[in-house]
Every structure is written in structure tokens, then in C-alpha cells.
């Protein structure tokens, strides 16, 4: 009871998703153009007078603009609700938080399920290929629209972390600090391999119809298998043991192909749920975008260039999808350029999911890091006093 009450007190409360459409076309990395482009976004807290307290929060693969609070009449809290709110890691009493959806998605921003103005039908596979740099370019238009010259911080986990790194690569002077969590400078062959299996499982479903399924409904089987694969990679061996062990759904084996084990039931449930909320073509396009992602070899900060952006990099010991050594690669790239940075590998069994779950330690790190970025050091006296 008290917990619910407390939760209400430090929630951002009722929020709504806004849409921002910019005229003109986005010149994509592929050479193609996309336009007009709409981005879905939410904001929490308020922008101060000199517009110096804005933080852009970026979501992972299947996330959306709804990072915190609830919609009127609903009780679905945002995906980072534990981290964004009054006195939380991203303190809405002090900072103005913007969460932007990505292009290519299906949560209000322009993506393959949006109507192609040229045909009046959903884009489907006529949607151009996009990259993480294109996602950031679209967000840059949004940040311009909000009148923010420089962001206090850009933060996000997983694919959100890639967007963070891309922001620094594209617009270092507009980013005072960066927090990439459980992320990487480039997708590894293992990560590409998982994404390829995910894509193949969608495309192998006859209901996918070469992407033209919008009149018929989603390729449910393929998409749910795709998501099941994803969920395995988000957990760890240990977290699965803790969560499911070998527990059965009933008290005996079925000696059939029903879901005997709890872990099977969990994956099926997750897969079935995902079909209701996420567009299969979006999953194809976005996984491809992150496979193309590569800021290694001096592409994050070019040789001979210095940047003032401060970094907080967080990884999780049990994360085998985006393992700590990938975060250490980011750290190495920053060392070479003398960038002010903090790196912390948190001990947790949650695997990749930890960036959504491990609230306490992340809060300590992020809260103080932001405070230092925003306020600098308070000179309180001299050594020995």
C-alpha cells in the first residue's frame, strides 16, 4: 500500500505522446530520401530559462516514446519509469526530459507501416533502409524544433546507447554529456547473427507476404518466434535459472509439444504479446539499422579532434548480448582522445535486461554524474579544513 502511494508521489503522472512532423526530406545514409517525417515524443519536467537542463532519452529496439508516467485513464507505466521522475535518476524537478521514438518504428514515428504519401498505402518494403545516424538526424530536427541548442545529456541503453554514441559522433558540440548503457561501438558478428535469425524467422512466415501483410494482419508466427529469440538473449543463464529453473506448468510432462516448462510458457507469452504491439517490418528495418552500426576505428571522435562531452558508460557483468568488453571498447576509444569519462561494470545476474531493472546502482551513478555536469564542483574550502 505505502509503496503504491510512494510510487504515485514520485511519478511524472499523466503524460501524452506528442507528434512532430517536419516538412522537407531527410537525406538518408543509404542515399535515399524520406519525407515528410513524423517523430513521436514525450516530455517530462520543464525547460529552464536558458534551456540548459534538457536531457534526451533514447529507447532500445522495440521501445517507444513512452518512457515515464501513465496515459490518462491507463496504468501502463513507461519503459524507464523507475529512472525518470521527481528525485529519480533523471530528476524531473531539475531536468527537462525528452524521449523520442525512432524513425523506422511503429509507435507514432514514420516507419514501414506508415502511409506512403506517394501511394496512399503503407510503405511496407518501399520504406527506405535507415541507419542509427538517420534516427539521430531525425531527432536533431526535433531538438531544433524544441529550441534546444545544447543538450545537458543524451542517455539510453542498448540501441538507445548506440543513438547516444551517434549523437556524439554527429553533433559533439550539442551534447554536454553522454550516457551509453549496455551498448557498443559496433555490432559484432554474434549480434548480427542473432538479428539475422530474427529476420529470417519473420520472413519465413508465409503470412509475411514479402512485407505486404497490412491488409491481412501480422505474420504472427514468425514475429513471435523472432521475439522469443530476442528474449533469450536479454536474460542470462543465471537469471533464467532463478526465474524458471526446470519448473513445469503442470505437475507432469505432457509428452507432447505443448509448453511443459515455465520457460517455454514465458517465451510463448512474450512472443504472442509482442505481435499485438510491434510491426514485423519495423523489426526487420530496425535490426538491420543496428547491424549497420559501426563507430569503431576513430569514427566516434575523429583523430586530432577534441570534444568536451563528458561520458558515463555503464555495463553489466552478466550481459552476454552486449557484453562489458564492448563497453570497454568505448572506454578505450575515449582514452585515446582524452575524453573525460567514467566507466562502471555493475554486478548483476539480470543480463542485458539489467539496464531496465537494476535501478538503484544506476540511479546513484546517473544522478551524481548529471549533477556534476549541470552544477560543476562546489568549492567548499581547502584541503585539511
Amino acid at each position: 500500500m505505502t509503496k503504491t502511494k510512494k510510487e504515485k508521489n514520485n511519478s511524472v503522472g499523466v503524460v501524452e505522446t506528442k507528434l512532430f512532423t517536419f516538412a522537407g526530406q531527410l537525406n538518408l545514409v543509404s542515399g535515399e530520401k524520406l519525407g515528410p517525417v513524423t517523430l513521436a515524443y514525450e516530455t517530462y519536467g520543464s525547460l529552464n530559462k536558458d534551456k540548459s537542463n534538457a536531457i534526451l532519452v533514447l529507447h532500445a529496439l522495440s521501445g517507444d516514446a513512452h518512457a515515464a508516467g501513465v496515459y490518462a485513464g491507463g496504468d501502463d507505466t513507461g519503459w524507464w519509469n523507475e529512472m525518470i521522475g521527481p528525485e529519480k535518476a533523471f530528476d524531473t524537478n531539475r531536468y527537462f526530459i525528452v524521449c523520442s521514438n525512432v524513425i523506422g518504428g511503429c509507435k507514432g514515428s514514420t516507419g514501414p507501416s506508415s502511409i506512403n504519401p506517394a501511394t496512399g498505402k503503407p510503405y511496407a518494403l518501399d520504406f527506405p533502409f535507415i541507419t542509427v545516424a538517420d534516427m539521430v538526424e531525425a531527432q536533431r530536427h526535433l531538438i531544433d524544433h524544441l529550441g534546444i541548442d545544447q543538450l545537458l545529456c543524451v542517455a539510453g541503453g542498448s540501441m538507445g546507447g548506440m543513438q547516444v554514441l551517434q549523437w556524439v559522433a554527429s553533433y559533439p558540440e550539442r551534447v554536454r554529456s553522454a550516457i551509453p548503457i549496455a551498448s557498443t561501438l559496433k555490432h559484432s558478428p554474434q549480434q548480427i547473427a542473432f538479428n539475422e535469425v530474427i529476420r529470417q524467422s519473420i520472413m519465413a512466415d508465409p503470412a509475411w507476404r514479402e512485407g505486404n501483410y497490412y491488409e491481412y494482419g501480422q505474420p504472427e508466427k514468425g514475429l513471435s518466434v523472432a521475439r522469443m529469440i530476442g528474449h533469450i538473449t536479454f536474460m542470462s543463464d543465471q537469471s533464467m535459472e532463478e526465474k524458471f529453473s526446470r519448473r513445469l506448468k503442470s505437475d507432469h510432462f505432457s509428452f507432447g509439444f505443448d509448453a511443459d516448462f515455465e520457460v517455454e510458457g514465458y517465451l510463448r507469452y512474450r512472443g504472442a504479446n509482442f505481435v499485438k504491439r510491434f510491426d514485423a517490418n519495423s523489426y526487420l528495418y530496425i535490426t538491420k539499422a543496428i547491424d549497420y552500426f559501426d563507430l569503431s576505428g576513430g569514427k566516434l571522435i575523429p583523430h586530432g579532434k577534441t570534444i568536451d562531452t563528458r561520458f558515463l558508460i555503464i555495463s553489466f557483468k552478466s550481459d552476454w548480448l552486449y557484453p562489458p568488453h564492448q563497453s570497454q571498447d568505448i572506454v578505450r576509444a575515449l582514452k585515446r582522445r582524452h575524453v573525460d569519462a567514467t566507466y562502471c561494470e555493475l554486478t548483476t545476474t539480470y543480463g542485458h535486461d539489467a539496464f531496465l531493472i537494476e535501478v538503484e546502482e544506476q540511479t546513484t551513478l546517473i544522478k551524481h554524474f548529471l549533477d556534476k555536469t549541470f552544477n560543476g564542483y562546489l568549492v567548499t574550502g581547502h584541503y585539511g579544513n
Binding site: V331, R336, A341, C344, H368
Partner: protein, 203 residues
């Protein structure tokens, strides 16, 4: 508690470091040394530390720190990235001491090394009279739970520097509460050396 002694070595290092310089502290703990340097001398500080809890404390103080071990954490830094690299009370826990000191000399103009003196008079008594491994204020651990893997004296370290052609720019010898000037290898609990392998400009 060895706090007074620790305090003294921090004070000495604090006084050595020039304002607004670039400092890397290897094994920075909870930032007890870096924080006053940043606050009062406006140094540009970076710590390296292995302990999660200590890292959280550093971040609470607003310090920048890498979760890494000293032996692998230096490679990527370009030459002369720092004015000072500090290796205080952490060298004795390092396995490849020579490699770490050479790397520190490469990436820093000066290297400040602080370590407990194993030839301190009470250590000698302990070993010589009682036949027991010494436990002192600067080496407070019992043999079975010490993090230290290197046990050295002030004389040992000077010999090491001479052999490796590392120049000792400054030496400070510390007792329990004050600086030791007489027979430091016998009476000092801790020593702090400032090293370089760079040609210093005159004047």
C-alpha cells in the same frame, strides 16, 4: 587506524601537484586524494579503480573513474597524456610492477609512487626478534589476508630506479605523524617518490 598516516601522504602528494594539471590516479579508492585536488587545485582528474563500491563513492564526489585494473588500464593512453600519474599505496598490490611504472612514465610527465616501507624498524624487530611477519601501521594486514603481493623497502626501490635509469626528482619519507629525515629506510613507515624519465626543461 592508519588514517593520520594516510592523511599525511595525501597532504604531501597534494602539495606536490601543480594547480590545473592533468592527473591520473591508479587505484584511486573512493577519491580521497583526487577530490581535494579537483576541488581546490582544479586539476583535471581521472581515476582507475577496481572496486564497484569505491567507484560509486567517486561518482558521488563528482569524480571521473574507470572500472579497470591498473595493469591493463593504461595501454590506450597516448604518450604524455598526464602531468602526473599517481601510484599511491597501490604499487605493492601490482604483479607486474616494472611494466606499470614504465607505462606510467610513458603516459605521464611525472609519476608519484607512494608505498609502505618494509624495512621500517618495527618490521625489522618483528621479524628479527619475534620471527613473525610484520604488521605495522603502513602494512596493517596479516599474512593470510593481505592484498599486497610485493614487499619492498625504500632502498629496494631506489636500487630499482637506478637499474632502470629512472630519475628520482623528489623523495619524501613519512613517519606516523611527521616527515622523517634521519635514516629513512629504518624510520619511515611510508615513502613517496616523484619519478620521471623525461628531460626536464631548465628553469
Amino acid at each position: 587506524m592508519e588514517t593520520e598516516n594516510i592523511h599525511l601522504d595525501h597532504q604531501v602528494i597534494f602539495s606536490i601537484i601543480e594547480p590545473a594539471s592533468r592527473v591520473l590516479d591508479l587505484g584511486c579508492g573512493e577519491g580521497e586524494l583526487l577530490y581535494p585536488l579537483v576541488r581546490d587545485k582544479h586539476v583535471r582528474a581521472q581515476g582507475i579503480e577496481l572496486d564497484d563500491k569505491s567507484i560509486q563513492e567517486c561518482v558521488k564526489k563528482g569524480l571521473s573513474v574507470f572500472h579497470d585494473d591498473i595493469e591493463s588500464g593504461l595501454r590506450e593512453y597516448p604518450d604524455n597524456s598526464f602531468d602526473y600519474v599517481i601510484l599511491n599505496q597501490s604499487m605493492q598490490q601490482v604483479k607486474k610492477v616494472d611494466g606499470v611504472i614504465q607505462e606510467s612514465l610513458r603516459i605521464g610527465t611525472k609519476v608519484i609512487v607512494g608505498f609502505p616501507n618494509f624495512a621500517y624498524i618495527k618490521s625489522r624487530f618483528s621479524l628479527f626478534l619475534h620471527g613473525k611477519s610484520p604488521v605495522t601501521k603502513s602494512l596493517p594486514y596479516l599474512w593470510y589476508d593481505t592484498p599486497n603481493v610485493r614487499f619492498l623497502s625504500i632502498t629496494d626501490f631506489k636500487t630499482f630506479c637506478a637499474e632502470k635509469k629512472i630519475r628520482i626528482v623528489e623523495a619524501h619519507y613519512l613517519g606516523e605523524k611527521e616527515v622523517v629525515r634521519f635514516l629513512p629506510n629504518l624510520f619511515a613507515l611510508n615513502a613517496i617518490f616523484v619519478l620521471t624519465n623525461k628531460m626536464m626543461r631548465q628553469g
